[in-house]
């Protein structure tokens, strides 16, 4: 499993294409938001949270897509399927790689959005990075699974969001609420049920992906 993570990191280090294009796309989305929505009116934490997660989701879809396109390109995934490793760990390896990428993106984007769109009246707590981690974990778990499925079809770029977004609905709801709460200083006990839900979501879908990946690799 870690071998696969390292492999993806090695590829990313050599080409750097995923991280840079993802970052650029995210930045552009934020700018579009700034133009199309009145920035002064966006101060409300709910808006910031919503915009952040939307941006992260859209930019993340790009990275998720790429992660499997590269595999399918020269048959790398087939080679992994051949190898004497537990197929579930292929899933975990890819998911962790995607998670790290998205996490870095998220931790960079959130402050960036706050800066560009206004930070008045915000008192972020330590919960904020926790939420980002939990939320990104969920996106990576579901996203890796869906990307693996979509990458086999011809319409992969359009199919991935179609598959991912509905499944991520509960996660997005939970993540946005919790982020908004964390931005204004709500305590952990206030946000308890949401945090539990995020954690639950992550566990359920990471497990589902791990168990089902075997089925996805057969021809």
């Amino acid at each position: 499993m870690w071998t696969i993570v390292r492999k993806d990191l090695a590829i990313e280090l050599r080409t750097g294409e995923m991280a840079s294009s993802m970052f650029l796309l995210a930045l552009l989305i934020i700018i579009v938001f700034a133009f199309t929505l009145e920035p002064e009116r966006l101060i409300a934490p709910e808006f910031l949270a919503g915009l952040s997660w939307t941006t992260l989701l859209v930019a993340g879809t790009l990275a998720l897509n790429r992660s499997f396109v590269l595999e399918r390109e020269a048959g790398g995934l087939t080679a992994l399927a051949l190898a004497p490793i537990d197929r579930g760990s292929i899933y975990l390896g890819k998911a962790i790689g995607n998670f790290l990428l998205l996490l870095i993106a998220g931790l960079v984007l959130l402050p960036l959005i706050a800066i560009l769109l206004g930070t008045r009246g915000l008192s972020p707590t330590w919960l904020l990075p926790v939420v980002v981690v939990l939320g990104v974990l969920g996106i990576a778990a579901i996203g890796t699974l869906c990307a693996a499925m979509a990458s086999r079809t011809r319409a992969r770029e359009v199919l991935l969001p179609i598959l991912m977004f509905p499944l991520l609905a509960p996660l997005l709801i939970a993540a946005t609420r919790t982020t908004a709460g964390a931005l204004v200083g709500e305590s952990a006990s206030d946000l308890q049920s949401w945090l539990l839900m995020l954690g639950g979501f992550d566990i359920v879908f990471a497990t589902a992906g791990w168990l089902s990946f075997d089925f996805l690799l057969d021809e």
Binding site: M149, L163, A174, M197
Partner: protein
């Protein structure tokens, strides 16, 4: 196909659907008393609520047949999963259509983001995702397995969805709109109407699924014949 299954599909199912739907329509429009506050529009509720149950239950069926397919590779299981998804999608669309028809006169708006409606929209999207995967997946058999996995993962998602949406938005406004305990489903005849229309819609669902699954089977046979013909 066995004799008994043929009888079930060609005789029992369609006729019972017909009879029960007839009974339901009679009850809904003629026999059930008008609800005090909502008037005649309320009658749609009998269909709307049951459609919603079928829509959500339909996905459980998709998941169940998908598990069956992954375990045994039975193509019949796969066809049933596909058919269930299509009929489920149909029923979900109907829920989303009958909802606003009911809501507009009663609440004054076509749409709100209350929990049940939100859930139903996402359910619709999950059905759409499943059907899109099947459609865009091409001729490969592997896509069937992918679809099955999606069916199972989707059904895991739905309880979480319900939880999240409830937590987010509070509760669907009750059928009863006033505090008066005399309004609402007081009349037992209303309860019966609900039950009968529920049974009718369940039979309708089953019949449509069976028809669709048979059609898929015929599609496959024809395609196979084409291929054999082309080869010789």
């Amino acid at each position: 196909m066995s004799e008994s299954r043929r009888t079930w599909q060609d005789v029992i199912l369609p006729w019972s659907t017909f009879v029960s739907m007839l009974a339901a329509i009679v009850m809904v429009f003629l026999l059930a008393p008008s609800e005090r506050d909502q008037g005649i529009v309320q009658r749609i509720f009998y269909f709307h609520v049951n459609l919603a149950w079928m829509a959500f239950g339909g996905f459980a069926l998709v998941a169940g047949t998908s598990i069956w397919f992954l375990r045994t590779g039975s193509r019949r299981a796969d066809r049933l999963a596909h058919a269930n998804a299509e009929v489920g999608m149909l029923f979900t669309t109907l829920v989303l259509v009958t909802g606003p028809i009911w809501a507009r006169p009663i609440w004054g708006v076509w749409w709100t983001w209350d929990p049940r409606l939100t859930m139903t929209v996402v359910l619709w999207a999950i059905y759409a995702a499943y059907l899109m995967l099947r459609r865009l997946g091409g001729e490969d058999d592997t896509i069937l397995r992918y679809a099955a996995v999606l069916g199972i993962v989707g059904s895991l998602d739905i309880p979480l969805l319900i939880l999240a949406v409830r937590l987010w938005r509070g509760v669907h406004p009750a059928v009863m709109l006033s505090d008066d305990p005399d309004a609402g489903l007081k009349d037992p005849l209303m309860g019966w109407t609900l039950l009968v229309s529920g049974i009718a819609l369940a039979l309708l669902f089953t019949w449509l699924v069976s028809l669709r699954a048979r059609l898929l089977a015929v599609d496959e046979t024809v395609a196979a014949m084409h291929l054999e013909g082309a080869r010789s």
